[in-house]
Symmetry: C3
Subunit: 127 residues, 3 copies
């Protein structure tokens, strides 16, 4: 159910990008109980200059290794769960492929459960 | 008003991608009454490995022909309308360009009506 | 905090795209008080045919110079602020790089403040 968009610059290799996708997914499983098989991601590498970011906002030193993660997911996670999710994403990406925690930018977009179809034209999560 | 993002792998041809955009738009018109001229879409083909998806989640067999459709639209559609929209998208894409219904993943993101400007710097839908 | 996605066709040069990113950001600062350093943008050029748009919807004449701007931001802006934001984006892009106001399409997606992490795995805006 989460639909995850990951955007990085081309300085990151395809292998690094794949590892980032893996780490974000494991964080969703670990921190907020997403089923391990519930994985849908769009991973994109961008030419130089196409990710624009401030290198110091909130006193956090960002580099060209920056990773933008936008996760659309169903409502219902508590603030503690969200905080844990952010922390585990940063931890996982630091472990592999070695992303600096300062470079991990995450945004959550919440939607109601009925707003998903996983195939066959059916709203599988609608009650 | 809907802003539609369609993401596929490069195994799908540009013509198939265009047909997918057409089919999603016709579904919006047919199922939830979007004006036929109200069409705004971003269609993207991705290199192998850049769409990550589980091939069996919820018992649905997905292939590299998978189609991710994310639709941002105004609030106000009923559950029945949403269910119908999912069904008609899958039906249309099956007819042309022949997408397997199992491969059609759809997510809706709802926003308030005042959150759109269709040009000229004006919020045309704001009351 | 806003995460801005700008999509244009390849008829627009990289320099024009960069100017569009600049103009959108200045509008966010001017119209709704976003901190000047709070800038996170994904700028993408697409091959011909990959942005699909109606050339006349609502009586607005759009061209291949169309600019799609999708802004994810925190809730809390008034209708007047949003209207002003749309107006200032169109004004800024007209000034530089000379985008026709008819070609500026904008959509806002609102999320709660706790849905952002600007680095280090922390929800910096959560209370």
């Amino acid at each position: 159910m989460p639909l995850v968009r990951v955007d990085v610059l081309e300085g990151r290799s395809p292998d690094e990008l794949a590892s980032i996708g893996d780490g974000v997914h494991r964080a969703l499983v670990e921190a907020i109980g997403i089923p391990p098989q519930d994985r849908f991601q769009v991973l994109t590498r961008h030419a130089d200059g196409r990710l624009v970011f401030d290198r110091h906002y909130l006193g956090i030193a960002r580099t060209d290794g920056v990773v933008f993660v936008q996760i659309t997911l169903s409502t219902g996670r508590s603030l503690e769960q969200k905080k844990n999710l952010f922390a585990v994403i940063a931890k996982n990406l630091a472990e592999k492929p070695g992303v600096r925690p300062e470079d991990v930018f995450v945004n959550l977009v919440e939607v109601v459960k009925e707003n998903w179809s996983f195939g066959n034209g059916i709203a599988q999560y609608a009650s």
